[in-house]
């Protein structure tokens, strides 16, 4: 396990250097199969930037904690192909809605503007928003904006509070944030806390 941790740190350090240009190599951990090329590496940089900014807008600190690495890992697993497609389209739509509402791609919007755009997804109102600039009658797209939003929120929270081996929760920042409550990482220590409580006869 220690070997794995060291390997991961080395990997994350290396990745930090390329993250700023939107290149996301596969998250190769010793105990899983090779997954290169990374899913995010196949996306245009503006979409990667949109997803990264969205995770940060959903939970401040998530991007630095490795949310994109986490997403990259899971999008390469066999059973999430539809989810990967949803995220890809979602990134495009984030930029489109941001352009309509704020005349900028999502990653370049202010925090308030990003919250406004995400609110449109949460309300499932993307079609109406895009209809503002579309000629002719509004038509419903097949894109599930609300589903995309819920998925992205869930992935972001998973990345922040899950096992660091999946690429998120860098330096266990999420567990530090919640104060190491409960004991999902080490039940052995809890045993020492249990003393008889005379107020509770049973």
């Amino acid at each position: 396990m220690e070997t794995l941790e060291l390997h991961r740190r080395t990997l994350l350090k290396g990745l930090a250097g390329v993250a700023c240009v939107g290149l996301w190599p596969a998250c190769r951990l010793k105990d899983r199969k090779p997954t290169s090329p990374g899913w995010l590496a196949r996306l245009p940089p503006d979409r990667v930037a949109a997803l990264g900014a969205a995770t940060e807008a959903i939970l401040p600190g998530a991007r630095a904690a490795g949310a994109l690495l986490f997403i990259d890992y899971w999008m390469q697993q066999e059973m999430v192909e539809n989810m990967a497609h949803m995220l890809d389209i979602g990134a495009i739509m984030l930029n489109r809605v941001a352009q309509v509402e704020h005349q900028a791609v999502f990653a370049e919007c202010s925090i308030e503007q990003q919250a406004h755009v995400l609110g449109i997804f949460q309300k499932n109102a993307v079609d109406e928003t895009l209809a503002k600039v579309r000629r002719g009658p509004a038509k419903a797209s097949r894109f599930d904006a609300r589903g995309f939003f819920e998925r992205l929120v869930t992935l972001t929270l998973e990345s922040y509070l899950g096992e660091p081996k999946y690429g998120g929760n860098k330096d266990k920042v999420g567990w530090h944030f919640i104060g190491w409550k409960h004991c999902w990482w080490s039940p052995k220590h809890i045993g020492t806390l249990i003393d008889a409580d005379p107020r509770l006869p049973y």
Binding site: H182, W184, I190, I194, L200
Partner: protein, 552 residues
Amino acid sequence: MARNDQVDVVVVGSGAGGAPVAMSLAESGARVVVLEKGKYYSIRDFTHDEIAICRRNFFVPYLGDDPHTIRKNGAIDSKPTREGWTSQCVGGATVHMSGFTYRLKEQDLRLKTLTGGIAGADIADWPITLEELVPFYDLAEAAIGVSGIAGINPFDAPRRPFPLPPMRPHPTALLVDEAARSLGFHPFPTPRAIVSSAYGTRPPCNYCGLCGDYGCENGSKSSTLASLLPRAEATGRCEIRSECMVSRVLVDDTDTAIGVEYIDRRGELQAVYARTVVIAASAIESARLLLMSADSQHRDGIANSSGLVGKNLTFSSFGKGTGIFDRQAIVAKLGPKNMSLPFLLRSVQDDYWIPDAGLGMPKGGTYNFLLHHPNPINAAVRLATDSDWAVFGQPLKDRMQSYFHEEVWVEFEVFGEFLPWKGCYVDLDPVTKDRWNLPVARINLQNHPVEIEVNKWLTARGLDILNAIKPTAKEVKPWTWGGTTFHLQHGTCRFGKDPAHSVLDPSCQAHDVKNLYVTDGSFMPTSGAVPATPTILANSFRVARHIRDKLA
């Protein structure tokens, strides 16, 4: 296919329905093969990785791999779903259960007689009495290890002491006791299928709190994996074959079960022949197997002359409420001692039988009080969903800060009667296939309106208790009512004396097929208002006694 694989008993499934039969018969001298669809995990495989264990496919298969399908409220088209699966591994659902270990009551077994029937529902009395089950409850609790206090719940029938003393509760149990008693209720410590002190070779619980949805890496949760199956294997006469998907029950020309076909982990079709075939794959999957075993002589599936295989599917009627309390206020009242303990361990059964409530049936249910599950991701997602996903950004982080540092969430779950009726059944999906190209189980789900009415009433009563807790909660709110707990499932092969109105006889042998038994929750004609796992275990021991005598 040569009959070179011949044993006395083949058991399909290794959970609460299968393991007691396997262990009992192996210990009595029979040669037993257990076929389990899932993997053979050891306790070293059970980590606290919330993502892998609870949110991916460690226990429950992915949709694209092995789905169920579901049609809700009379919908025409079915949709793939992960609902209705229990953990896919040796030990079955007992591996990831929470282990709330209540027994049924007399009303559960006599619901039709006591009510005179409920409009629209197809309830039936059980063909056995509670007295017949009690010795096997005792046997099951001793065999697996259950912690609790006998005689403290005034609504329980007299019973033997539990094998183990109760688990230690979180101090907030004091507040629940106080509040419940102030309203005239009689709270009692929730019995748990967890060993509170050393039991045989198993160590006592270390109070990590991750019972439900997890496997126990300590071996303290009383799964069949930790308790019964090692005993079965120790006889040298019980072989557990994991990752084997049973696809057909083999029946000869005399309507006698002679074995099963299965697909092994290499994808090859195999068969094992036996004098007795026991199906215990869960109420949904056992019905599916009987339906999949149709042939030219049994076009509607085997053991199905009544047409009832798959019908009368019941789950547990679910309700839930949450009270959000200020942590400092609780610490100020109770002190900081033991605030890290994970279990609240209080139950209330005053509303189990409620003839004066003016509802559509007099059958109520059980309130199980507990702390919010310690899973952090689950909690954070719940904070998002509670706001209809409208809270995100810094407000979400602030909300997480409050939840993890400033609040204590006391919750209750309602276990209510789930009424069998025409709206809820399982059949074979005509389109969707699993990874073995077998038709998947299609769940047809519609809740009986009386069941919803009663569950709503019970949930409101549970909220009354939360509201009576001092210090007062910051917020008390219902989370849901009239819902469905899918992993508690029963009824699809109900037992009874009349072959026209039941699939199994009182010993859980198929009316139509000799030497074929079903011992998971399928046999239960009514669900009861508690989790059925202890009852399934007890009944499986009862059936094992019957098979043993027959084999002898």
